[in-house]
Symmetry: D2
Subunit: 492 residues, 4 copies
């Protein structure tokens, strides 16, 4: 996951981009960067770490200009290095800086075409750099003397024709303005907002509406699947659909876990969707366990599951208790020479309030279960704290397939639910019982907020990929994402 | 506020001190340090910033040894510099490292005595350095050829006789062991724990029991007011009361705000105490507003008030809603040249989920109200989000007096409730109505967990200081803590 | 001035580039960088500061590969920022890294053409970036399917046709190899060397032969004016003259001051040339002052003038004395608040050994006189040390015109000899007498080492620029190089 | 070796201490520090590295005050860590900062006494910290109510009675002033200077007179052996001899190598002493080799030997040639994986100008020969450059014994001349012939500048230690200084 933002303002824009990135930080804490246009110059500052650590006063003060883009990165498969912090930049044509959230599934083909046909060198493993060069090439090809909006829309159409996958992008073209576009399925989110100041009208695009909120921009609408939105340097807004037969199918995992609860995505409140997930889950529990479920307390595993847990508790008529306290300042793990037993990692992240567990039947709630390692440790922690029975509810269905559109998930072989029945997972986790949300209920929980939404990318639950995908690509991903592969890369 | 921890272990102790400090980090994010005994050497590493930023692998790996202390600092009045990161160290006598949480009220006198009588130079404004030198001097005076436990207890008694204020301290004496002690009122907390490993028995002392939990230590008991606990290098535990007429009166603000909910302080669960605060507050609201209070939702102001809000909501029979979302990655504020209107600071910290406010009567709950600036902005934010009526509840009584025992509060003149009636505060905040906890109810909420507790330091609510205090001292504090004074110091 | 180096080796090349840059460091201490080819990747590390400060183990260990280039920068007019550290990089076509020593005189024209015709964005004020893009464009234009040597030579010919000025360049083209070339006058130096190892034959190009010496490469020859030398990835060496009517006219200032004495440039030993400068100067002194010149000691102003001073002293039959000691560790100048009189800057750099001056007639020798500020202070220092008479000799003629081919000299208005007769300079410096080398003698001192050399760029002495130059360009340079202009840029 | 400086000024003193340290930097490049008195505060900044790297604007601007001391460190045996950067500080009594150049030979005894009798903890291996604590203890013992000059002189007398070795020290006592003193043999140098400004009279003490020169202080005299000089905060100067039977015996190696040529030590010009060393050496060569020595050129090994080489060349009637050029920017050695043959280290430091060697008989001159490794490589380099015969002269006698008074020399077993005759060394170095200065000639070369000097510490040549020394101490030193021991410590 990554967070992206772009603003065409009327006054200096760097501190707004900075503030916007801090509220998108949940989408990526690995690296951050900002690029602005300062007269004829591109100003670019990026680095590894949190937004607040990458930027200092000196860094921000160099980012002069009223037009800029920002990016925060969650490392997806194969993109862990420093060099791959975004925005990326190419100087030909025009000077283009580029911020991207998502992942392509035909990167290898494009990478090859890029060099063989276009002589463009891609220097990293990042498919963001590939996508930037595809865009750059198509703009270069279109340009006949001067760059018109028509050429830009045509170039984006060409990008849609060549690239396959999930991508939400903002390009900063020197001397021209911002170009924002989403893939033809609208897998990754991108929202457009407006602010009117004394100096004039300003536009912003961002991964989530919270970034607009914090800056006082009003949300206008989502960028449509396959659409390109241009905001010129002069502040003019233009938009055009650039993909034939675009089929809206956003990633449902945004609602489950990725997005902030206070965001609106595709006109659906993430918060409300999560409340509905809790309600649906309660219905299922009542269905399966009956009214005499014996649950004494619903305990959310902080922080994401709190919303679903609260509606679930209310629907069950059971108090919700904050029995697990998160350590917000967790640091690195240091291993001292000669040290024996290691503090278990979940103990460093979470602490149980024993009084809420002792002699109780507790229902632990999490948004989803991926590897299952943490869930297993928390269930054990609940037992150690004296719980009589420990039940476990997942607000999402079993995660059985990798995500290939930009969410960093482990290889399928490391997903606890891959190839296991619910009963087998229940046993593996050591829960007294385990309940998963049904996929239809999850879909309902989201679409109930916007009935125009009919399709989603639900691949990590269903194994069905909306863009289609080669078996070979999935194999490569599997190989690249395994822990063993990652460790090897890191030590290289 | 500060967090302190000390361990006498059987194997390397630095990573445990590090982990312990990360769970005490809520008590101070300004600076951190660790000192260990490595054979005949004291190893010390400290610096400004969060624990995770101050320590890297190289730093931690130098902190060899199985005995050590750690400290994290919240800047109290006058202690903002780098030089004042703790532990402090003096080389005479023995080599003593020292970590302290609290504040003295007779620092000036002691500082003078230290130099005139004892020729000890105090190089900072920190009263922790003063207290260390008082202890060092008394140990030096007592030592006749070799240091016995009796001498140590006598020296701590002398410290109690000379120092006035709130202090919980851990001293690391080279070649001897740890000495932990609390002031005769037990104002600041300090808890003792034990862990039995394959290599033998280990002891730890820490500001809060959560630090013991994370390390797998079992909480034995609180260090008593006026008591000194010795843990020798050999692992022997000794304790003795060292203050005549010690009267137990812990700081009640620990329960309101400072401590983590999962801590036990004086055998009282902070979490349970906060649940009881919510219940008492609900009773008062029902008493004052009647059952037709018209509240549609209880909305906690994250994070501390969540516990009280949940029991309050339950007692009122009203749903609790997470209508305010906190930005966990908030960064610095950058001001760009020529920039107009500034993003309001509360907007960068909190975002309202409009759906939870629109056309509703909401009760905002906070743990306490200090300056009132943030509360006023949040009330406005609730109105902007469409709330019909905005009510406000404080789980603590009006804060009208400065804290002088180590909690960094503004000068009295900057407290919104100082010199104001509740009605006047209500008006100043712009709330439709405002309710404060009664002091008796607050006291009950805590003592209901441990009936042996009879007295508290409640000075910030009542103006009564358990140690007594000079009017002149209060005046100095007032002058030093004002924003103007702080800005001046910072720019110096 | 800058130093450049490139190697096509048989094994890892980064540490050799690093070592090579340290011996070219006298050509530029402002910034440094290295780029290598690691498989399909370009590895690039650069930054402000000395080579030894820019590179650490981690930085160097990432620079994998057996082909690479390096650069160290002396800030020329307008190129002071961090962004302008070299090598520069463009990704289209091929991926090209570029290191350049020199300065163009038609930058503005090229910059304009680059954008208008080629849509290439130049993001800095550096004419190195312009030159790289000219080369990139010409390569792109030439490439028809695959890049042949013929295309490369043609592209370099086009660069020579478009660019005017002094330039020695090394380009690293991914998938192809190194391209090294010099401007058609050969103003800036570039030398080619070869090393045969067990793994095969290796080639290197560098600004000065000392960089070859330190790495054990044998000097083959200088790259010729207007020539392009290709060293392919496979280790093949090709060369071709690419400029019609190239006229050899190297910069004579290299021999006077810039180059290391142990370098061979155009088959002339810099050391020997300086010895000859001393001899010629002695002849002139004897001519002008007669054998009864009364000089008691010749004292070089360290370090450059030492060689000329030694032959001068020998020819005069007077002892040379190291009466001025240089402080090799000079640091920054800190100005404390309220501080009165400042230590004079030359005092911090040089210290006089009084015994060598007291009651003596001393002849101070410097390689050249630019602003005259330091010379004046040293003459005063000699008087303060008790000298009876202080004479001053410059191994070069009066510097009266700016250098525009890559040597950072002040604006003409700040040159002490500009618009002044020798007598006026003598007076301005406060010398008892002053002697300058004659230009013909300087030229003889160099050509005596290689009689094929017939012409030089002697513009800073003669005002004649071998490339021709617009009056407008000179005016711009004058404006940009004045101290006032520099201070303004720095504070921006 | 270390460099020390102290100033009692009338205005801010930090930038003067900084400038002074930069000209003392040749005495130690390993670490640097400055301490000043800012009202009642001690300001201290120190760290590893060169003076210019340790101090930045922020660091210096905190060093307020008109009284301060500075230190730069060359790592002596066992003092390589960061913690051991000086000045050291103790807070009891008074607050004392301390800078020391030298080495004690009874450290172990004092260290033990310090703890057993005085309870003072010494936290490092540095004997400077021991010496500071001895002084602190003696001041504490003497102080009866207030600190008089008499007490201070008595305390220094006690230090002289307890400490044995070479030491030049400056102590900064808060509220009192500076105390400067040298051991009773005056082994390490310390010089006193004075400056009169508009604000009044200022005093400075420093290791070498060059530090006074650069700051515009006039050299008054050397601090005498066993003397203590007090400069009070009020600017009063007092001095008293504090050691019975002090016998002046300064370290002769200062003249050979350590000191800057422009320093005056014991009223002897180091520069002149070196010229005389060259003359004496010429006499010996003429004696041994006769007037037909066949030497074509004298080539100094830069930089120290240049002075002696110039007088030697003149006395022999042979030209001196700068045939070896030093690389002033030498950096770290990076070893790349898979790399074959390493560049020889001397090649990275020195480059030969072949023309000066080819077919010549050259006499290489160095100030002294310690390990011989570099000398051997340079001789080989001369042969590689085509020299016919390579002769070698050392301006000092054979170094056969370790220095134990603060000069970092290798263990005796690693000295090439230890246990070898001159013929054996000649052979080991591969020289055609080798000549060493005679010890009597060396002594004459120094005493000819000040006939009051009668005795020196010449231990590294003669094995006679002026302070006397235990065999056991020498064994420890031998063990500690071996390369193996150093590598082990560094990797710990």
């Amino acid at each position: 996951m990554c967070g992206i933002i772009g603003i065409v303002g009327t006054t200096e824009v760097a501190s707004a981009l900075y503030d916007g990135l801090t509220v998108l930080q949940h989408r990526g804490q690995d690296a951050a960067g900002i690029a602005t246009v300062d007269g004829a110059r591109l100003r670019l500052h990026k680095g590894n770490g949190l937004v607040r650590d990458v930027f200092n006063s000196a860094g921000v003060s160099k980012l002069r200009g009223r037009i800029g883009i920002g990016h925060c990165r969650y490392p997806t498969a194969g993109s862990e290095g420093t060099e791959e912090a975004q925005p990326f930049y190419v100087n030909s044509p025009y000077g283009i800086a580029f911020a991207h959230n998502g992942n392509l599934v035909n990167t290898e083909t494009l990478r090859k075409e890029m060099f063989e046909d276009d002589r463009r060198h891609i220097d990293t493993d990042s498919d963001s750099e590939v996508l930037l060069n595809v865009l750059a090439h198509e703009l270069q090809v279109e340009d006949r003397g001067n760059l018109t909006h028509e050429h830009v829309f045509k170039a984006v159409s060409r990008v849609h024709a060549r690239a396959r996958g999930g991508y939400a992008c903002i390009a900063l073209v020197l001397g021209y303005g911002l170009i924002a576009f989403r893939d033809p399925h609208g897998i990754r989110p991108l929202v457009l907002g407006e602010r009117v100041t004394a100096e004039g009208r300003e536009y912003a695009v961002a991964s989530e509406s919270v970034a607009l909120d914090v800056l006082g921009f009003k949300r206008l609408r989502d960028v449509a699947p396959g659409e390109a939105v241009i905001i010129t340097e002069g502040g003019e807004l233009l938009a055009q659909h650039c993909a034939e037969g675009a089929v809206h199918a956003p990633c449902i995992f945004e609602y489950v876990y990725l997005a902030r609860p206070d965001s609106m995505i595709e006109d659906v409140s993430v918060y409300k969707a999560r409340l509905r997930m809790g309600e649906k889950l309660a219905e299922k529990i009542l269905r399966e366990r009956g009214p005499d479920h014996g649950i004494d307390a619903v305990i959310p595993i902080p922080d994401t599951s709190r919303t679903a847990a609260s509606s679930l508790a209310q629907a069950l008529g059971v108090p919700m208790r904050e029995g697990l306290v998160k350590n917000r300042y967790i640091g690195r793990t240091f291993i001292m020479p000669g040290q024996g037993e290691r503090v278990k990692s979940v103990r460093r992240k979470l602490n149980a309030i024993d009084l809420e567990f002792r002699k109780k039947n507790v229902l632990l709630v999490d948004d989803s279960i991926v590897r299952g390692t943490t869930s297993r440790q928390i269930i054990q922690m609940a037992r150690d704290a004296g719980a009589k029975n420990v039940y476990f509810a997942s607000a999402a269905p079993p995660v059985r397939y990798p995500n290939i559109y930009g969410i960093d998930m482990p290889a399928a072989s490391e997903l606890i639910a891959a190839g296991r029945t619910v009963e087998e997972v229940e046993k593996a986790l050591g829960a007294d019982w385990l309940v998963y949300q049904d996929l239809d209920d999850l879909i309902w929980a989201v679409t109930d907020g916007n009935e125009d939404l009919r399709q989603f990318d639900t691949s990590c639950f269903s194994g069905e990929y909306v863009t289609g995908v080669d078996a070979r690509f999935l194999e490569q991903q599997e190989a690249m994402r395994s822990d063993a592969a990652k460790n090897e890369r890191r030590s290289a």
